[in-house]
């Protein structure tokens, strides 16, 4: 079994008002060193498949077709083995 960990984030060129609001709140909490916050999504998918290359290919297809909106978002994938 393999697990794909998927991190979807806004492209650097896209404004993130949510992240900005969180930065403001962190400043209010006293974390003055914080200069930027970006908010994304984290998704895990478990595959009944031990072929890393095949799982990586499928996950890329899944991200391109559904999990990420390529107009505004980038993603990266990490594949790891899990005990069944």
């Amino acid at each position: 079994m393999l697990k794909a960990k998927i991190f979807v984030e806004l492209k650097p060129s896209v404004l993130d008002p949510q992240g900005k609001a969180v930065t403001n709140s962190l400043h209010n909490l006293g974390f003055k060193d914080v200069t930027q916050t970006r908010i994304g999504k984290y998704i895990e998918i478990v595959f009944d498949n031990s072929d890393k290359e095949d799982v990586s290919r499928q996950t890329t297809e899944i991200c391109d077709s559904l999990l990420a909106n390529l107009n505004t978002e980038n993603y990266h994938i990490e594949i790891e083995e899990i005990k069944s």
Binding site: L15, P17, N69, N71, T72
Partner: protein, 231 residues
Amino acid sequence: MKVSVITFPGSNCDHDAHEVFRSRGHDARLIWHKDHDLQEPDLVILPGGFSYGDYLRSGALARFSPIMNEVIAFAQKSGLVMGICNGFQILTEAGLLPGTLMMNSGLHFLCKHQTLRVESSDSPFTKSLEVGSLLDVPIAHKEGNYFIDSEGLKALQDNDQILFRYCDPQGNLTPEANPNGSLDNIAGIVNIGRNVLGMMPHPERSATESVYSQDGSQIFQAIESFFDGGN
């Protein structure tokens, strides 16, 4: 005119749209998203609401509903498709319209009257409207912040694809009149074929005598005049 209004799980403006067309004397019907038959409409409406609870991204899951294969095929054959609010989000996710709708810049759900300026009369949806005329049409959304890359924006401008922009009550396109941070004050666009419209404001909520504004009915009149006048 035969109008098919698609109901997705979580649609909540499907009956409003259906009722507006029915009351205007059209043959309107509601079509469940799992159906495969659009019933040969003149116009397809993707209504407002929260299809699939807005899970993942607004419109991202509805785009894969079974009926969407028929909607895409219908649009590709130059059939008229109008996506309102969540319907606009579904159309961008389906690739029938460019760009995407992001969270409002102010992070709040907005539900209010909004003045729109008609920017082009070169479409079946704005055919009888005057460029520069103002419409009071309500908005109700949290993800209405239209975004597209600079190349895409230039293409929309160059091809006269922007049909409606947010403006103040005097018709000025100011940043203050832009409720959600949309690029270039964009409220509604058409595809390059000019048969697919997506707009965040709700004309079906301003089209009957029972509500404050009837300006939305001008858009429905435009569609009617398009069909009356022949293609």
